[in-house]
């Protein structure tokens, strides 16, 4: 298949590779097949977007890669690399200050206080929240909270950053600005990102590749390379054009479930 060829042709070293990964919930007749023989790989420093309608198992896939859940079949390899995961909710802990939240992963690793402080300050500066460390999470706006969550994820020093619709709950303006921010941080910090969304334009705006998944069960339908020059604008004709092409493919997939 062309998808597999495309995957194997990638020159970059794969940091995440899934080979015929299946995920089943439950057993027997009631078992739900969430993912069916999904094969994909993400190269080092690559930004890959996973796109699909409801029930395509996007979030399941991230949980598997993050090691929060076990695969039912196939092989999944992250080469023992540290993985971090961000959700739609920032899910910051209200009993900690903003800096305290960012420091938490460092604290759990037993890093001394002074080092922790310094590192948290750096990370907050990276997400442009310098000077907000003493605030409480609820004192920040949704977009700011999501950036704190990003700083917390970066504090894990993970090579792989998984993002599960991280901007889904934000308004368009905030999302647009956070796209720029995420792109900048991804480039500066040399991250490998696997980004789940149901927003086609967002996927084309951000990804090096957009992988389209089918629904119930989730399978890889197509792997679209996105080659437009960065930084891109979500409203540029190139992004809109490719998004339209992918949307058509997605619509056809959704229509398949009509019967």
């Amino acid at each position: 298949m062309s998808i597999l060829e495309a995957t194997h042709q990638r020159t970059r070293q794969a940091v995440v590779s899934l080979d015929s990964v299946s995920k089943r919930y439950g057993t027997g007749a009631d078992a739900l097949l969430a993912l069916d023989k999904v094969s994909l790989s993400v190269g080092k420093g690559e930004f890959v977007c996973l796109l699909g309608a409801s029930g395509c198992g996007k979030s399941t896939l991230l949980s598997l890669v993050a090691g929060l859940d076990r695969i039912s079949g196939g092989t999944l390899d992250t080469g023992g690399r540290a993985v971090s995961l961000m959700f739609q909710e920032a899910a910051l802990f209200p009993w900690l200050s903003v800096a305290g939240n960012v420091e938490l992963p460092l604290r759990l690793r037993g890093i001394p206080r002074a080092t922790r402080r310094e590192r948290a300050e750096q990370l907050l500066e990276i997400v442009r929240l310098k000077g907000f460390g003493h605030k409480r999470p609820h004192e920040l706006s949704g977009g700011m909270r999501q950036r704190v969550a990003l700083a917390r994820a970066l504090a894990q020093d993970a090579d792989i950053l998984l993002m599960d619709e991280p901007f889904g709950a934000l308004d368009a303006m905030t999302r647009d600005i956070l796209h720029d921010e995420l792109e900048r941080i991804w480039r500066e910090q040399e991250l490998t990102v696997l980004f789940v969304t149901h927003n086609v334009r967002e996927a084309v705006r951000l990804g090096d590749r957009v992988i389209l998944l089918s629904s119930r069960p989730g399978r890889v339908i197509e792997d679209f390379p996105v080659t437009h020059q960065r930084p891109r604008r979500i409203d540029s004709p190139e992004v809109a054009g490719q998004a339209a092409e992918i949307t058509d493919r997605l619509r056809a997939e959704v229509a398949r479930h009509a019967g």
């Binding site: 959700f87 899910a91 604290r107 759990l108 609820h138 706006s141």
Partner: protein, 298 residues
């Protein structure tokens, strides 16, 4: 200063500066209007006037009953007489010795109840078999009127401080345990997932996630536990009169024995006021937490 010559400004700024401006500008816009608060005096008045009004209503109703001469004045004295007696009561050192004794018992009993309740609550929420066995028992214990325990307590510990403590603890500990258990049960799923992502397990998970997350529910458990222990203590002081210990309850019994209605009512007021003051303390702790966590309405 640069704003006065806008035509020049854009050239000197890089795209990255502008990106930074967009972010900080958006943040400033979104934070505007947050954190407004009315003056302290206004807030105190707003929370105080309904309470003052309540006191006024009670006093007026009480005076009306006295004027109606439903009972003779030596059995049901009017507010003026009682407040006068109360005034002279609280200026005696003897009275404060009684308060000190009662409060020492209350605090000791409550502290013990918190200790035991916390240990039991943590154990029950951690081990599933314990939970099935003890979980409903705890709720059952909560519905027991504490006065039912005194006969047994007296048989077990005779007329002693221990008998009172036993009942206070058994009355309050279930509430404390329940508060902790429900707090642990209702830790939001997203927080648990974050804990998983951050690799929290075992003790670290309790220390950094479960215990702090269950704090609001634990505090309401404490508050309820205090109410139960205070009630049990008052019942205990009336029933279990330890020789030589002149607690509030004992003094109240003495006043009744001497037919001093006014003094009995004074002690009722004292117990009520102490109860309200402690409740205010718990509410303050609860409010401080809610504010810190951003759980306040609006």
């Amino acid at each position: 200063m640069q704003a006065e010559i806008p035509t020049q400004a854009p050239d000197q700024r890089t795209e990255s500066d502008r990106a930074a401006d967009r972010v900080t500008g958006l943040d400033a816009l979104e934070l505007a209007g947050k954190g407004e608060q009315s003056a302290l005096g206004k807030r105190i008045w707003r929370s105080a006037w309904p309470k003052l009004l309540a006191v006024a209503i009670v006093v007026v109703a009480w005076q009306a009953v006295v004027w109606a001469e439903w009972k003779p004045a030596y059995v049901l004295p009017g507010p003026a007489t009682v407040f006068e007696d109360l005034g002279s009561l609280i200026t005696t050192g003897d009275f404060w010795d009684g308060v000190r004794l009662t409060m020492t018992r209350a605090v000791t009993g409550f502290a013990l109840a918190v200790l035991i309740g916390t240990i039991v609550g943590a154990a029950v929420s951690r081990f599933a078999p314990l939970r099935a066995a003890i979980g409903s028992l705890i709720t059952g214990l909560q519905t027991m009127p504490s006065i039912m325990w005194f006969p047994l307590a007296i048989l077990l510990f005779q007329i002693s401080e221990s008998a009172i403590m036993f009942v206070v603890v058994i009355g309050a500990a279930p509430s404390v345990a329940n508060g902790l258990i429900s707090g642990i049960d209702y830790v939001p799923r997203t927080w648990l997932r974050v804990g998983q992502v951050l690799g929290m397990t075992g003790f670290a998970k309790y220390r950094h996630l479960i215990l702090p997350a269950s704090l609001p529910s634990f505090i309401s458990g404490l508050k309820q536990g205090w109410a139960f222990s205070w009630r049990s203590l008052m019942a205990g002081e009336l029933l279990v009169i330890v020789p030589g210990a002149l607690s509030i309850g004992v003094r109240m019994q003495q006043a009744r024995d001497l037919n001093e209605s006014s003094l009995v009512i004074s002690f009722i007021i004292v117990v009520l006021v102490i109860g309200i003051l402690i409740d205010l303390l718990f509410n303050a702790a609860d409010n401080a937490l809610r504010k810190r966590w951003g759980l306040t309405g609006s």
